[in-house]
Structure formats: C-alpha cells, structure tokens
C-alpha cells in the first residue's frame, strides 16, 4: 500500500513538475512573471482535444505539433509585447511589475478567445486510461506518461543548459543579465529563447494533462498558481529544483490524503511551501541572489 501511494504521489508530482518547468524558465531567465501561463496550458489542452475529437489525431502527435506552435507564439509574444517592456525597464524589479501587468492583460485575451470558441463548459476525453501494474501497484498509463516526460524533459533541459554553449549563455543571463552582456552574450535573444522554450514546455504540459484532467476555459489560474508554488519552492530558474519540488508536493499530498486526512492536503502543500520559504527563501536548489 505504501508503494502504491508513493507511486501515485510520484505521478502527481511529475505532473506538477511538468506544469512548472516552463514557468521557471520564463520567470527565472527571461524575468517575465507570466500570469497568462496557465491560460497557455489550457489553450494547449484545447488544441489536443480538438486534434483528438475533431480531427481524430492521436494526442501524442499533438505533443509533437503543439509545442513548436507554442514556441513560435511565445517567441512572438516576447518580441512584440514584452521586449518593449524589457527595453524601458530600469531595473529587474521594474520589469517584473511591468510584466505582471502586461501578462495579466494577456491572460484575459487568451481566456476571452477560448471562451468565445469553446464557451465555459467542461471538456475532457479518454486517452490511455489503462491500468499498468508496477510491482503490484496500479497506475494509469496517461499519468505515468506525464511523469516520464517530466523527467525526460527536466533532465534533457538540465543537460542542455549545463552542457551546451547556448545553455550556458541562458544560465548566465539568469544569473546576471548585465554581466552577461560584458562577455558578448546576446541577452535579448537568450531571454526570448528562454521565454519561447517555456511556452513550448507549458504547451507540452497542457497536451499531457488534457489526457486525464477535466478542464474548461477558466481553469488557467489554477495551473498558474500551482506552477508558481513549485517554481518558488524549487528555486526560480532551476529546472531540477522544479522537478524536486513538484515531486515533494505530489508525495506529500498523497501521503497526507491517505495517512492523515484528504481534507488537509492543501494545508500540507502550503505548510511545506512556507517551511521552504522560511528555511531556504531562495528555494530548494536556488542560489542566493546576493
């Protein structure tokens, strides 16, 4: 039983991590506190739904098609909407405030478009809802897939960021955009890339969660909030941190649900969040900003 609860906790945590990874890139590197993050996730979920029930295309193909579109879209959003803010912001803090306001507006634009097309009703479909037995415990294939992809994407991006030249540039921008310029890094391009990559990641997350969650056009904020908790807990800009924080939250939620009381899962989540903020304000794997 302990193993079964752990397994379901890990899959839930994997989903949280998956949902949060894009935001950690957007917030940590591009310094854009993207409030419309969850809306993009829901939009991707709608795209997957449309592929599946409208065109009878396998959502796994959606997983190949949707993220590049989201990448291009996010890149355009950054260049057109956010770059002017970056240019005129005197400090990082000013940029954060401006980006919150701008993306708050964007949230309503995306939500409004989705409401106009799909209305406010709930949507869901069934895909890969088959039980898999792992050492006697049962897990749903679609949720396991989300976990596996979270791990693959997390590790892949981690390696990409630490082992490649462009990855190093992106990390340099995350640490100090001014100093990064001094060593001839194109900060704007690196930021735009990080933001677009974050968009592609959240789209992948949207396609994956659409396979097992029921969603409607208003659900974005739920994901934005969850992602924000995971990002801050894991350390802003740190992909492995997001993965670890997501897994911790998933495990704690399910342990509390089984061994304490399911009514206390939210309290436990925010209790852990507070604890991390008190003990390590920079996040589990975050670097102190001093």
């Amino acid at each position: 039983m302990l193993f079964e609860v752990t397994l379901s906790g890990v899959t839930l945590g994997g989903m949280y991590a998956l949902v949060a990874m894009g935001l950690t890139l957007q917030y940590g590197v591009a310094r854009i506190m993207n409030l419309s993050y969850g809306e993009l996730l829901v939009a991707a979920a709608f795209a997957a739904l449309w592929f599946y029930s409208g065109l009878a295309i396998n959502p796994l193909i959606g997983l190949i098609v949707v993220p590049p579109i989201a990448f291009a879209l996010s890149y355009a959003i950054y260049r057109i909407l956010l770059q002017p803010l970056v240019r005129r912001a005197k400090t990082r803090d000013a940029l954060e405030v401006d980006s919150i306001l701008a993306t708050f507006g964007l949230l309503f634009v995306i939500q409004g478009v989705m409401l106009a097309i799909f209305g406010g009703a709930y949507f869901s479909y069934t895909f890969l809802a088959v039980p898999l037995k792992i050492a006697g415990a049962t897990v749903a294939a679609n949720r396991l897939l989300a976990l596996l992809l979270a791990v693959v994407i997390g590790l892949g991006l981690y390696l990409g960021l630490t082992r490649t030249r462009i990855g190093t540039a992106v990390r340099a921008v995350a640490v100090d955009p001014v100093a990064a310029q001094l060593v001839a890094i194109d900060v704007r391009t690196a930021s735009a890339l990080a933001f677009a990559l974050g968009g592609a990641l959240v789209a992948a997350a949207g396609v994956l969660v659409s396979m097992f969650l029921t969603f409607n056009a208003n659900l974005g904020v739920v994901f934005t909030l969850k992602a924000l908790v995971v990002v801050i807990m894991g350390g802003v800009g740190n992909l492995l941190g997001a993965l670890i924080a997501g897994l911790i939250l998933g495990l704690v939620e399910n342990y509390v649900a089984v061994f304490v009381d399911p009514g206390l899962t939210l309290a436990a989540t925010y209790g852990i969040f507070l604890l991390v903020l008190l003990v390590r304000p920079q996040g589990i794997l975050g670097q102190s900003s001093r």
Binding site: M15, G119, Y122, Y125, P131, F212, L213, N218, E253, A257
Partner: protein
Amino acid sequence: MIGLGLRLLSATAVAALAFALPASAQDKVKIGYAISKTGPNAGGASITQIPNYEMWVKDVMAKGGLKVGDKRLPIEVVEYDDRSNSEEAVRAVERLITQDKVDLLFPPWGTGLNLAVGPVFNKYGYPQLAFSAVTDRAPDLAKRWPNSFWLLGTSKQYVDALTDLLKKMRDEGKIGPNIAMISIADGFGIDLSQAARKGFTDAGFKLAYDKSYPIGTQDLSPLIGEAQRSGADTFVAFSYPPDTMALTEQSKVASYAPKVMFLGVGVGFPMYAQRFAANVEGIMSLGGWSKDNANTAAYAKKHEEMFKRGPDRWGSQIGYASLQMLEQAIERVGKLDRAAIIKELQTGTFDTVLGKVKLVDNMMQDNFWLIGQWQDGFFVGVAPQRAGVGTPVVPKPAWKN
C-alpha cells in the same frame, strides 16, 4: 469631468424619457440576468443554465414574442457576467433593476449566488425561479422571500431518496451495511455529506470511510484506494464535475468496482456518457429522466440541435420547465405586474416539459427525479417512487475496456 457631466445629462434624459412614456406603451419585454460566464461557476452555468435561457428566448420569439395581454411582445435580453463572484452578482442584479430597468430577471447559477441575490430580488419584488440551487434552507427562504422559488429541492430530499434506495437493496441482501463516502469541501459537498452522514447512520448503515477533499484536487486515487480497502460495497461521492470525471476514470483504472457507485454533479452531463460510453452503465447520481416522456425527449433533441450537445440530465429540464411556468404565468396575468405573476406562480398549475406542475410552498413536489442511474445508455430516474420509475440495477456491471 466632461464624462461625468455627460453621464449625468444622459441619466436625466433617460429619467425624463421614462416619465414621458406612459406604462401602456410597452413595445417589448426586457429580461435581464447575471450569470457566471467566467470563473469557477462557468462550467456548470454554461451546461445547465445558459442554454435554457437562449433556447427559451428563441422559442418564444419563434411564436412571435412573449404573450402579454392581447399582444405578443419581442424580448430584449440584457446579460452580465457575474464572474462567479457574489458581490459582482448582487451589483449586476441591482444594475439590471435600477439602470437597465428590466421587466423580469432570470436567476444566477448555483446555490451560493442564488442566496446572495435573494435579498435584491426580494427587495424589488422580482420572481426568482432558482433551479440550480439545492439547500435545506429552501422552505425557510420561501417563507422569508415569498417571491423566491426553490425548484431543485433540498439536500435532505436527495439523501432521503438515496437512503431509501440503499435500504431496500440492503434488505434484499444485494448490498452490505458498509458505505464509503467522500465529498468535496465546498457548499454542495458539505451540505449533502452532512445530511447523508445522519441519514445513512439513522438507517443502520455504517460509514466505513468518510472523508472530504479540497476543491481542485487533481489526483483522487488515494481516496479511491482507501474506499476500496474499507471493504464497503457502496461508494458515494458528492463531487463536482472535474472530480466526477476523475473518479470514474481512476476507479476504472484501479478496477474499483463497488456494487453501488453514486457520484455527484457531472454524471448527467452530455460529455459524461460521451466520454465513458459503455462504462457509465450502472452509475448513479442526482437527477434522472423519464423514459416515456415525449416532451423531455423532444426538449433534449432540440437542445442537441441548437447547442450540438444534450442537456444536463439533472437540472436542465427543470430549468426549462421553470421558464415555461414564468411564460404561462405572464400570459394568465395579462400584464407585466410582477406581484400578480408571483401570486400566479405560487398558486397556478402549469403545463411544462415535466408534465403538470403545481408548486406547494414555492417548491416542486414529485415533478422530477431525485436519483437516476445509467441503464442502456439512458439516465433513468430510479427514485422517488412515482409513475415511470426505473428499477435500479445492482450490482453495477463490471468496467469494460
């Protein structure tokens, strides 16, 4: 400053105009409503409620307008989004009354918002035909606000009907005495689980598992596992639509097959049967339809044609019936005299898709099904005991792949 001046000017102009026009020169009926188009309530509102409003207006217009006296008047609709927020709903309803000067109001979606706007409807004397609110306070509210009608019943009604059903199955030896119950920690789940806790125990059942979970819980497998381990062969969940979907899917994955599976809001949604197809068989929930009612069948067909999806098999038909009642009350009164319309609603007998409806103490009697079950792809009413009642199927058939 100029803006303010202009607004003042136009406000005076409108006021003057209103005085200048005699009341008899009414050439249209203005109907207003505030409803959750965004926010957490939007999912329910756009499935159960908004389609009814649009369909009824279309139907009335197709007849040439709303019959008031010897004329048929066109309907003008004023709609606001209350953003699932009670203050916003109250503000919007007040605005509809005082600024838009609507002749009639439709209610918002859900128990919470209907309670929130109740005092405003009452203060200005507008009939409030709430059909998406379930509250045990309904009888008291109907006394305090005689203009308010609570058509979807009380938590106790549903729980009593479910308990009677389970008791019968237990006495016939079809199920054991243990029940596993979970509920969402929000208005609906709290109300119903409280009533059920008492109802089940009084009837001699034992709650082998009884927990609530917070709204927005994205993984229900721990609760399903615990319910499974509790050994109870009846599973009752007072859940919201996203959880209802997840419970169904995760129960299937976990091969959790209790003899009785009762789930909350969403089982009657068109998407539910569409998504789970043959696996809906035997699942029970609130609401239900009559198999032999040609009127509701025609209503469902029209709903599907107009919105490309069927109605909710719990509240939708009651909602449409409430609008038919309003329409007939206006026709009988012959003018838009709200006090007289309320009186007619309280005392008259109406011909609706549900059949003949006569309210008692502003509430429906045995006009609708409290508990339904999916049988052969139809969500048939199995309680209360009245004409056309279906026989519940126990145990629930096994999950299919």
